[in-house]
Symmetry: C2
Subunit: 721 residues, 2 copies
């Protein structure tokens, strides 16, 4: 029987339009296909021919995924037992999967050279009078990726006898970064506890780890950093290595490697060395032995992720060594095992009075070319910190001799946590498509991080995960789309955010165009809506401090200057914005000259980035013809209206969505609506007080005075420690 | 379709004996009945006749519960829509439910006088040629309780045409105490986060709250204290009252009232009074207004639970007022609304050098008769703190003029958290059946707390909940039995723990006697097994400090003496145990004389309580003929062997249990086995070092030396803050 609460809910609601769901199945629901398509797929149902099933666990998994999904899509109730069988379904139709080592696959002469190590070929063929769907690859993981791709094609409406797909990923390291603490809290986690039940590991592998692996494999993610970048020394001790190894054992058949965040001072804190100086032989020897110990437990361990000399974390600079010296020492430890080091560039110092946005570049640019060949530097998409909008990070395109890895944030630390709807793929896409001009026009950030621009073999994309113990994984149904989109873009950064939204919506809800079109439109505008009501026109980091929930543009009393929102907006009676041109911090000079000129010029800079780069008078005219003050007000209002539009649109979609998921989204949108108004009103009240500007006629005044907004506190906000 | 992980698991395991389950359905699975019984029940399937369905939501819920459960038990796949219909199922058979206000029910002349306010009558009758099952009660909640009782009868094998049950609860307040913090952590919680997603309340009521209400109603629980007894002032502010009210709205139709823990110093901390002196009129006025505010939001609010002057919590003694003065001031605030105050007796002071076990009695005994009539004093089952075994608390039977409420702990703070299997009903039963001799022989603790002994109208039983966000609610399948048993005993303390185990096992797994008999035997012995390997023969509080996980009998360096395990065992080279007789702390004198004599006499005291009351020489002979040292060793070994027996027994039950639940229990038992050995070895190593005694021939020496065990640390243990 179905889960009891849902069963009761369904019984109580006489008009439930679809079977109650709780979001656990993500985009892998494999709902029954529309009739015409179901009839076409039906003859393929049955046991998949997979000669390598018995010898390759990954092939066996791929075969079962296809079998059970096609059964579900064609509404066959009872799962069949194909364990011992490699027989195809019907005499006339079948599905066959395998690698090039399977003679039956090899005999087909498919273009496997184009599939690479992780890619696949899917093709509808006829052979000996049978209609066959073939999923072929060079390695078993490619077959698994191909299996999930096949199911995606079917679920999104591709005709089963017209399949012809050859793919390989554009980026090699497609990683989730879990900021998961050892006490099972999650830094910036808004979806319950850590998925890793450390306390019960390694004895108990929660079945959910397997479902996690499936979901990730279905979108091509091939690595997971299990623990928070703000790491504890414990993670490097034997009991915790055993826990990581137990997780690795579950993830391995799904092509996912385990990585660990390493705390720089670990050997000192474990009292096993007296220093963490990377040039001290005892330190290097300790890490070498530690790497050997980890690889003994996890033979395919991926390597280390390091946050060093950043926000109070220790690092090589504590010993007057560079980031490169630190990274290279660790890299030498994992090198014999094929491991890598991902060294984060997210650094800024309370001792450095210069513009925070400039500090990572300043630290790392002189080190270009000094990193070992198994080090990759992991750079956030923007120079501050995962804001609703930031211009691309100036390190992209200016560090030609160093492989750079993208760090996106999937969890919505600065975008309203789980209850504000914001589809992030347009934000990712905006950065990936940005032109660095590193090798002339068209040198996109995507080409930097996929290694193609400078020919780097190491290349990758990391996303700070939004996955937790919540039943729906991500805290909200629509936040599942951000996980999905991150994986899809890591696989292929040329996919459009719109196309990704469409395929996600089809799989997560229904392929009915009457649903897909409006929901996609709603998703596509959602992030810009958040920008509008939180930080329009290049404003940034105006959130309440600490937990980053709600507006706090007035905060000015924190110890470090760059912790205060006033540091970022610099509003005074004359104007607002951070002058990063030559007359100010000159951060623009860190970009290639063409880019720098574009940002530095008031004529060419886009309004969306205006206040990031310029301090602008309140009464200056914008491109719209409005004054800056009026334009800001306009955008706040547009943000609030945008949420109202989402509510109205979602309400029309009720016939397509099961009751529990419809209700959850409805409730969350109501929160977002109320809080968009809060953001608008608090921001307007504050900026009016600073600027001394009155509200033009027709602009709704804030519901309360500024003191009211300043007094709002959100104790016990999730994700903050 | 079923949830994807489970679906895949089922597909991969060709020999899964039962459909995969994740424990979410608790004891309300309503699995298909055995064939003969299903044929008997089948004619009753259909829409329940419930004339009050349209006007009484509780009746509507009861009707739907019966309809959907009988559908499930008789394997009818599609739920029917009975919303608009009150028609019975078949012309020949039917189920009819309602209160005495329903003329059709009233006409039956059932013995509703015996059902009281919350009870019910269930009867199989024939009327106008139809076979009817009737569930009748005086109030709607009685109908709901009766509905769940009917389903329990059916699921556990009672013949449907022989039903004749009249019940009412023996205790009025049947409450869960949630030690749930506002940041969603749970003090002593081992099943994930708090079930209360405070952050999203009051906007979002997790559907799980409804399932929580159902589960509790099914065992008769009628109140929930939502927040930790270590309370924050925030809980009394408007935003948090709104959150509690939203939960109350969900629980209300299920007969469950919401209560809140109140922090004594709340008005001072909120800066609304300058003192928390209970005799200060401003303080009383503040609480009166606060009560009015709460009742405006929650008209049936139950009242306050207070932990005062206990473990650092503020209280009336800070102002030289008594517990009674404090409780009565709060009681006056809720009195006009019909609310109550539950005042905890769990007090002990670092400033009091006397035996900690004596301090609650010493504080409260002088106050007997001084509490207002809407105050009930909540007393833990034993005088220390929820140990695997404690003699009953000396306040029971010695406070005749004061209503006393039982506080049991359901969450296993001192019994191995979620991964050690310990069925606690025998422990509850042991205390409830203990004889206080308050009014001569046979004056049981149960009669104290049900109010019958002294004729108290206020009476109750509270259990510290083991419920969290884990999918299986309680952290383990068998810990669900402790929740279940607590509810059942609160309803009827005369039920045997064995009978409760049987009915739980039948509903949670299968009614097959080949399963029920061995699993019940396993459960029944499990708590004694934990006592054996942790704290045999009356030892107590030897757990590692802070989180209370694993052995720490050697700990002696904590600031407060009674925080140290050595305080409790008092082992030295000559002997072990806490002399609580006249030659020692004379705690025995707090009991009635007959009880005191029994505990004080080495001849009459049971070995199970020996070292609680006596300091005994290592070489003294026990009733078994062994020396104390040998007897202790014997019991440690028996504890380890007991876990081995559970493992062996569970292994034989595989054919009866679905794969995921079988596997979870198997894994947890493996942890328990390893840790039982850890407990035994560490305890023996320590006591051997203190006593200087060698191990007799044949006794397995500890695997490691004492220093090894002392060095074990469990950082990041759950449930500790």
């Amino acid at each position: 029987m179905t889960k009891f609460g849902l069963a009761l809910a369904a019984t109580l609601s006489a008009t439930a339009p679809a079977q109650a769901e709780d979001g656990y199945d993500l985009w892998l629901r494999h709902a029954p296909l529309p009739t015409a398509q179901r009839l076409a797929v039906d003859p393929y149902a049955g046991c998949v021919a997979a000669a390598q099933r018995a010898t390759q666990v990954t092939i066996a998994i791929a075969a079962r995924e296809i079998e059970s999904a096609i059964d579900a899509m064609t509404d066959k109730a009872a799962p069949r037992d194909c364990t011992a069988s490699a027989a195809a379904a019907a005499p006339s139709h079948g599905v066959m999967i395998g690698t090039r080592d399977d003679p039956a696959i090899a005999a087909l002469g498919l273009p496997l050279a184009k599939a690479g190590d992780e890619g696949f070929v899917i093709r509808s063929i006829e052979r000996d009078g049978r209609k066959l769907i073939v999923v072929a690859a060079n390695r078993p993981v490619g077959v698994l990726y191909g299996a999930f791709a096949l199911l995606r094609e079917l679920q999104t409406g591709t005709a089963i006898d017209a399949l012809d797909v050859t793919e390989q990923p554009k980026v090699d390291l497609r990683l989730l970064n879990h900021w998961d603490n050892l006490d099972r809290t999650v830094e910036r986690g808004y979806s319950g506890q850590s998925i890793w039940d450390w306390w019960k590991l390694p004895d108990v592998n929660d079945p959910r780890y397997t479902d996690y692996a499936r979901a990730n494999a279905s979108i091509g993610i091939n690595g997971a950093v299990l623990n928070n970048v703000n790491a504890k020394p414990d993670s490097m001790t034997a009991p915790w290595i055993a826990k990581a190894a137990a997780v690795a054992d579950v993830l391995r058949p799904y092509g996912i490697k385990v990585y660990l965040s390493a705390r720089w001072s670990t050997p000192v804190e474990l009292k096993q060395t007296t220093t963490a100086d990377p040039l001290d032989p005892a330190v290097a020897a300790w890490w070498k032995a530690k790497a050997d110990e980890i690889y003994a437990a996890i033979p395919d361990f991926g390597g280390f992720l390091v946050k060093a000399n950043s926000e109070g974390q220790p690092g090589p600079q504590d010993y007057k060594r560079t980031h490169a010296e630190g990274a290279n020492m660790l890299a030498a430890a994992v090198k014999p095992h094929g491991g890598i080091v991902m060294w984060r560039a997210f650094v800024y110092s309370e001792a450095d009075p210069d513009d925070r946005a400039k500090q990572a570049y300043a630290d790392f640019k002189p080190l270009d070319g000094k990193f070992a060949d198994n080090v990759i530097v992991q750079v956030k998409n923007g120079a501050i910190d995962f804001q609703p909008r930031e211009p691309f990070h100036p390190m992209f395109g200016t560090m030609p001799k160093t492989p750079l890895m993208m760090e996106f944030q999937i969890t919505k630390e600065y975008l309203g946590f789980a209850t504000h709807l914001a589809y992030l793929a347009p934000m990712y896409e905006e950065v990936l498509d940005a032109d660095t001009f590193a090798k002339g026009k068209g040198s996109t950030v995507a080409e930097v991080i996929d290694g193609s621009l400078e020919g780097h073999k190491l290349n990758g994309m990391a996303g700070v995960a939004n996955i937790g113990s919540d039943r729906n994984w991500s805290g909200s149904i629509f936040d599942q789309a951000n996980w999905y989109a991150f994986g899809r873009l890591a696989w292929d950064h040329q996919l459009s955010s719109d196309a990704i939204a469409r395929e996600w919506a089809k799989q997560t809800f229904t392929p009915d165009p009457a649903f897909v079109q409006p929901v996609t439109a709603m998703m596509m505008g959602s992030r810009e809506t958040v920008v509008d009501y939180m930080t329009p026109m290049g404003l940034a980091h105006l959130m309440a401090t600490g937990h980053h929930y709600g507006p706090g543009p007035w905060v000015s009393d924190l110890a470090r200057p760059e912790w205060n929102p006033v540091y970022y907006h610099r509003a005074d009676k004359d104007g607002i914005g951070f002058d990063r041109t030559a007359s100010g911090s000159n951060a623009v000079a860190q970009y290639m000259p063409q880019v720098a000129r574009g940002f530095a010029s008031r004529r060419s800079v886009d309004d969306k980035d205006l206040l990031w780069f310029h301090h602008v008078g309140w009464d200056e005219k914008m491109k719209s013809g409005r004054t800056l003050w009026a334009e800001l007000l306009h955008r706040y209002d547009r943000g609030v209206a945008g949420v109202g539009d989402m509510q109205a649109r979602w309400a029309t979609l009720k016939p397509f969505v099961d009751a529990p998921r419809f209700e959850e989204v409805t409730r969350f949108l109501a929160i977002q609506q109320r809080e968009a108004i809060w953001w608008r009103d608090a921001s307007i009240a504050y900026f009016a007080s600073v600027s001394g500007r009155a509200l033009p006629t027709g602009v709704q005044p804030p519901a309360h005075d500024l003191e009211y907004y300043k007094a709002i506190e959100h104790s016990y906000a999730p994700g903050h420690h």
